[in-house]
């Protein structure tokens, strides 16, 4: 398939997926008992006040109509207004998203820098003690709830050994976040741990697969040194599945950020989502889920396209 057609097809698919996401989230949030009116006006509100509020907010229209309204405002870049913070949702997310991105991108970079060499090392040392130890550690890291890991990190590195702060950097601007790098260490480690486990497993499997390919045997027979071969060829070929996996990992990263931000009191989008859930602030919940889902869909799209560019085997449909 020519690249242009492929791109058009993938973008169309992505748009459909985003539309389905909006329907799912819209339905979910409208399944709420009591509705938003009671949440805003309080338990003392009369039926008349609630009816009045519903009419003002357009909440008395049929659901499909409300959905179309919602879609129309979305296309204008309007995510609605927070019920409790009385600010536009888009503005709230705009303030918080960069901080969440700093956390997730840092975690992802740290995780990949550790996981890729680790996985290759395991593959080379397959079924040796090192491989077993790292495999076991990966299982443990993958199986540990993030909040439990975060708690242990705080207990050990901030209570027992007073090395690092137990609270993430505070403040509204990114400059304030970067002014306190020590505060970022524990949140980033907590966010990166399970990703290291998953991606080192991936890298290990991909490297093993490549090591058994004919080109490796041929190059070895021709006298190539193993390390040169490993870094020049096997490394690059093994990266393809890792890149593809990155796109799918975006929602997991955001899920981790939700817990990490709450645990370390880091004022990003996860914490915003958390407090909005406590106060049933639907527009904010809806907006956050939408932004995260779009990020995931776009992430997957980019990963697919990058994979196609860096690995000609994908284009030929052989990998």
């Amino acid at each position: 398939m020519p690249t242009f057609l492929y791109l058009a097809r993938r973008v169309l698919q992505a748009v459909v997926v985003i539309l389905i996401v909006t329907v799912v989230v819209f339905c979910l949030l409208h399944a709420l008992p009591g509705g938003p009116a009671r949440g805003i006006l309080g338990p003392q509100a009369t039926a008349q006040q609630i009816a009045e509020f519903n009419r003002q907010q357009g909440l008395d229209e049929p659901l499909p109509v409300q959905y179309l309204y919602y879609l129309r405002t979305l296309l204008h870049g309007d995510l609605g207004t927070s019920y409790t913070l009385n600010e536009p949702v888009a503005q709230l997310i705009e303030q918080r998203l960069p901080k969440t991105l700093v956390l997730t991108v840092l975690s992802a970079v740290v995780a990949l820098l550790i996981a890729i060499p680790l996985g290759m090392w395991q593959a080379v040392r397959r079924n040796k003690p090192v491989d077993y130890v790292v495999t076991t550690l990966s299982f443990v890291a993958y199986s540990t709830p993030v909040y439990f890991l975060g708690l242990i990190l705080v207990l050990v590195f901030s209570q027992l050994l007073p090395w690092l702060p137990a609270q993430a950097p505070q403040g509204d601007t990114l400059a304030q976040v970067f002014a306190d790098p020590a505060g970022l260490v524990l949140p980033v480690v907590a966010g990166a741990a399970s990703m290291i486990a998953v991606f080192s497993r991936y890298m290990r499997a991909a490297t093993l697969e490549n090591l058994s390919e004919d080109y490796v045997r041929t190059a070895r027979a021709g006298g190539s040194r193993r390390n040169a071969l490993l870094w020049r060829h096997v490394f690059r070929n093994s990266l393809t599945p890792v890149v593809a996996m990155l796109g799918y990992y975006v929602p997991v990263l955001f899920g981790g950020a939700l817990v990490v931000e709450q645990l370390f009191n880091y004022p990003g989008m996860g914490l915003l989502f958390w407090s909005s859930a406590q106060s049933s602030d639907y527009p904010v919940l809806l907006g956050c889920v939408l932004v995260i889902s779009i990020a995931t869909v776009v992430g997957t799209l980019i990963a697919d396209v990058v994979q196609r560019i860096i690995d000609p085997r994908v284009k030929a449909g052989r990998a």
């Binding site: 698919q13 709420l32 299982f139 709830p145 909040y147 439990f148 708690l151 497993r201 093993l208 889902s293």
Partner: protein, 305 residues
């Protein structure tokens, strides 16, 4: 994927690894058992699960404790001969609570994992078998589901209601069926063009019959492996659920509930309230992942994508 496995060598292992291999491999049962038992981590995992089942379900017979009434004269006791793992903030014996909560964690995790597998299997088989635009539409729904992080959905649900144990199983099943649906769809795509399926259709067999008599039985190894990983993930998700405020209500509890209840106590040095449930979750989830790994090698199927 074009690597050729050397005979006798098991493919790569790991919770998310994707080793090469034939789909729906026809491997004899004796060979399967031998391959499974050669994977030491998988055997260890099986032992851990059996021990935990005994601990949670038979343990209370040997160590009967009152997990319903509070004993306010016995709160926050450190581990001692009388209370091997101490007591919690309302005087429950922590060792007994570990058994009591473990029942819920294991049962909810198993049920939710299996439910997710059933939903995913039916969805994936239907999509793959139908093909064309039905397949495309059904898989876009799966893409959309994967794009919305499960923890966010669970937190939204917790803002709406506090479900019982049954509701919890349904919710967890509904947020985690997506990966098995992709695996089963991929399997169905290859199976539906086999001669025996065409023959069945030619002699007048229905689509339902083709799916239930041929496609699903031939995908059983893929499904069993997916189910094992699904249970591991579900038990982990159950541990998150209490933290998000969706967990079972007191006096019932589960390991996640014990963990969230112990979070603040841990800062005051009462480690016995968080380490036992935390380690229990890690051990059980590791064990199921290891078993899934072993089964995947034994069945010689491709892992979860």
């Amino acid at each position: 994927m074009s690597a050729v496995l050397q005979p006798g060598q098991s493919p790569g292992t790991g919770p998310l690894a994707d080793p090469p291999g034939d789909t729906a491999g026809a491997v004899g049962p004796r060979l399967m058992v031998r391959r499974f038992t050669r994977n030491r981590l998988a055997v260890a995992g099986l032992v851990v699960i059996v021990l935990f089942l005994l601990f949670c379900f038979a343990g209370p017979l040997l160590h009967p404790t009152d997990q319903t009434h509070t004993t306010l004269s016995q709160v926050n006791l450190a581990p001692s001969a009388r209370h091997l793992l101490g007591t919690d903030a309302v005087g429950h014996d922590e060792l007994g609570r570990l058994m009591f909560g473990g029942k819920v964690s294991l049962l909810v995790g198993l049920a939710a994992g299996l439910l997710a597998t059933v939903i995913g299997t039916l969805w994936g088989a239907a999509a793959g078998y139908a093909g064309g635009w039905i397949d495309a539409a059904m898989m876009r729904v799966v893409d959309a589901g994967i794009a919305i992080p499960a923890l966010f959905i669970l937190l939204v649900v917790s803002a709406i209601s506090t479900p019982g144990v049954f509701g919890l199983v349904v919710i967890l099943g509904l947020v985690s069926w997506l990966v098995p649906s992709r695996l089963v769809r991929a399997e169905t795509l290859t199976l539906k063009n086999r001669d025996y399926v065409h023959t069945l259709r030619a002699i007048g067999g229905t689509h339902t019959r083709a799916i239930t008599r041929h496609i699903l039985p031939n995908s059983v190894s893929t499904i069993v492996v997916a189910a094992t990983f699904q249970v591991a993930d579900a038990i982990l998700l159950v541990a998150y659920v209490s933290y998000l405020g969706l967990g079972v209500q007191p006096p019932a509890t589960d390991w996640g509930g014990m963990l969230s209840a112990g979070l603040t106590a841990a800062y005051s040095g009462r480690w016995w309230l968080i380490l036992p449930p935390g380690l229990a979750v890690i051990l059980v989830v590791c064990a199921f992942n290891a078993i899934g790994d072993g089964l995947r090698d034994a069945f010689d199927v491709r892992g979860r994508a």
